[in-house]
Amino acid sequence: MATSDLELDDIQGILLFAYASLAHAAYVHVTFPAAAGTKPNAWLGKIAKDIAASNVHHGKRGDKINVAFTAEGLARLGVSKKEIESFPRELQQGMGHDLRAHVLGDDAENHPDTWEVGGPKNEPLHALLLLYSHEPDTLEKLREREVGRLSDHGGAVVHVDLGHVRGKEHFGFADGIEQPHIAGSPRRKEAHQVEIPAGEFILGYANAYGEMPPSPRGGDGFDIGKNGTYLVYRKLRQHVGRFWEAMLTQAEHDEKRASLYAARIIGRWPSGAPLVRHPLEDVKHGETYDPAFDFDKLDRDGSRCPFGAHIRRANPRNMLPPDPQASMKAVQRHRLLRRGRPYGPPVAAHSPEGRAKDDGVDRGLVFLVLNASIRRQFEFVQQTWLNNPKFAGLYHERDPLVATAKDDDDPRADLTMQGTPVRGKLAGLPRFVTNRGGGYFFLPGKKAIAWLAARKR
């Protein structure tokens, strides 16, 4: 795709921009009780003009609002049963459904029954309001205004998370480094970024198979999906103290070794420097690193970056069989657009010993992903790469950083660190992340928002 034929004025802004300059975000989860007098359509009609599209310069200081709906939310807006059946199965079932929980490995303490939001024991989740602002107090004002408009129409808030861009996530590592570049996007493409067909992230455009996948349709023939996408929301609580305590235990309290183990679990150093290029220590403070790297050329045996490390699993690049070219091609069909932000106050300490103290504070990552196919993108990465104990020819190892699933008859959680003459192993690692809830949402284009607002119930 040479020049952009993306309809930027119809696509919600969060798809093309992460709003990094608006460091403060509020994720407002909304329900419209079934009682008479609730007017979700009128509410949507009222806020429609304020919903940010992608044709506005992303650097502006002005607040941004975007909105998304669960399948139940679409039903509340008057979308018929038949029309909802034209949406993908994953959206219809919702992330809290048994089958989705099974696919995602959300069991035990991650099970939907334990969730704070979006689970079967929580209040019905209908919509997600994404609010972005430059300062905490301006965000607060924005939130007050929106919650006011919401309750004017009978809506209620069931849950709020506050996200804050800070450069590093809570374990202490730079995050969100490798983002795909959407073909036709007005944003500047970095040299090392891979360009992905727009249809992988935005409905209504050709995807990585050169196909226009089926789009949800209204009974009147309206293309509901066009310029929209699917949003995955997961509130991932991070157990920072437990993580660094485990690293220090594995390293017998040698802090340098503990940092190395942490880097091997992730695949990068805190600066973001990839292990593949810097296998033994991080770059010096202030130094830059080359963001491009090649698993096949630089680390075929995994002795620099373990096969089971997080970034290998989240994006295997050219390491999959049968050959590097086929791998790159296949992997490009499972890319995710990440828009999440950390929530909760950062840990004050910087050293491993300091960070190993658990202060009991709730902090983590609001994990937010946009993709045109939940099943082939988000769920695939989660099931076939992150949570798969057989990834990369391994026998029984899941992602040491984020995997939630366990086998009852074999709950080992190890990371094999390939090396010469023999491998090392971090054995018996605890789980460092807990899923506290979330959902699968449909993020409509602006025309679709108008269509939804106009539905009669």
């Binding site: 198979y209 086929a326 104990p389 057989k390 023999v422």
Partner: protein, 415 residues
């Protein structure tokens, strides 16, 4: 010891009359799942097996019951083992119209079908060998962990570590067969024959099969564009898929059963037979080590053509349905299109191989439309991927004799 080959057994026969709708029959079979699997564990020659009720129309009432197995060695001893194992279930086997109690072997003889294409992911390894290799690898990995935990790996070379591991293994006092086991594989690739085969196939295809198929395709597309003839592929949320999807991805492996009529006409049947023959030749002469177009996650797979021009596909594979089909689309779509474009409602294909299975979402919808639920599916090693099986074999092969430092390092990389 001479190599033992693996073979497919496919038995398809009509159900007896008056059985009622699919749900009831399926439920009664599924109720037997656990006891049948328990009994099948005793069949030493059985790698994977299944019982599947086959409908004539997708979602329709079942008309046939199929049994598939992938087994070691000759058919007769395997069938004898099966007969013994399935003895408690003779009543259920009478679902087959022609079945007579106590006559399992005769029944198989009468109704067994040849498989023109049989794909193996780890040929030459028996069930017993696969289990034995897994035990050896697991024990060695455990010993390595022990040495690691006791800091007995520091400062040693790979050569020394291996020596020590093998000594500890011997200390177990357990009789184990280690080292090379003949798998009956060709010693070196038939490079010349491969070239001839590829050339012959391509020429035949170019000159004969492809253009005629292309013309046939045009006629078929005209037919399909007439109202009432369009392909009716199953929708996203169709509840018919629920029992299938519910059972998928519960363990490391899955079994896919796919049942679709051929497109009408003698040409299509002939093309199908030709393509299956060609793939089988290619498989035997080139891909004997087991990578079907680069997909290394299939344990066993086969296509079978039934008398009434229907095509049955059985596959036993690792990973999720989504990953498996995705692999097919990414890596093997040409082969799949060549085979399946001869069947009903397959996504538009041009010249037998182009487009077709490369259209990801349509292809997956088509597979789902004709996918059939397995009432009973058995694996002799449900926790092992193809990669695990082959790596285990390499561990066992390297567990004897002397190695150089480099060889020892390569061997230790298997842990």
């Amino acid at each position: 010891m001479p190599a033992t080959q693996q073979h497919p057994l496919t038995v398809v026969a009509p159900l007896r009359d008056g059985l009622g709708p699919l749900d009831a029959v399926s439920a009664s079979m599924k109720a037997l799942r656990d006891p049948v699997i328990e009994r099948l564990r005793g069949v030493k020659t059985l790698h994977f097996g299944r019982f599947v009720l086959l409908p004539d129309e997708p979602g329709g009432p079942p008309t046939r019951l199929a049994f598939e197995s992938n087994h070691d060695g000759e058919r007769a001893p395997h069938v004898k083992e099966l007969a013994e194992a399935l003895a408690p279930f003779e009543d259920a086997l009478c679902l087959w119209k022609d079945y007579r109690k106590g006559r399992f072997a005769d029944f198989v003889e009468k109704h067994a079908l040849p498989a023109p294409t049989f794909y193996l992911g780890h040929p030459g390894l028996t069930v017993e060998q696969i289990h034995a290799d897994d035990e050896v690898r697991d024990r060695l990995a455990g010993l390595l962990d022990e040495m690691d935990g006791a800091d007995r790996l520091d400062g040693k070379s790979a050569y020394q570590i291996r020596e020590e591991l093998l000594a500890k293994l011997a200390d177990d006092g357990k009789p184990r067969t280690l080292g090379f086991v003949d798998r009956g594989l060709p010693v070196q690739p038939f490079a010349e024959r491969r070239m001839h085969l590829v050339i012959a196939g391509t020429v035949l295809a170019a000159v004969g099969v492809v253009p005629v198929t292309a013309v046939q395709e045009i006629f078929e597309r005209i037919e399909e564009s007439k109202p009432g003839n369009e392909p009716r592929l199953i929708g996203e949320g169709d509840p018919r898929l629920d029992p299938i999807i519910d059972h998928e991805d519960r363990v490391t492996q899955n079994g896919l059963t796919h049942f679709v009529p051929l497109r009408p006409g003698k040409w299509r049947k002939a093309t199908m037979r030709f393509v299956l023959w060609f793939l089988e030749q290619a498989r035997q002469k080139i891909a004997y080590q087991g990578t079907l177009g680069g997909i290394s996650s299939i344990h066993f797979a086969r296509w079978v053509i039934l008398d009434d021009d229907r095509v049955l596909f059985f596959s036993n594979y690792d990973g999720s349905w989504e990953a498996y089909l995705g692999d097919f689309v990414d890596k093997a779509h040409l082969y799949l299109s060549a085979v399946w474009s001869n069947t009903k409602w397959f996504p538009k294909t041009y010249g037998l191989v182009l487009e077709g299975a490369s259209k990801e979402s349509t292809f997956k919808q088509w597979v789902r439309t004709f996918q059939v639920e397995n009432q009973i599916w058995y694996s002799a090693y449900p926790k092992l991927t193809v990669q695990n099986v082959l790596d285990n074999a390499r561990v066992r092969e390297g567990a004897v004799g002397v190695m150089t430092e480099d060889e020892a390092q390569a061997w230790l990389r298997l842990f």
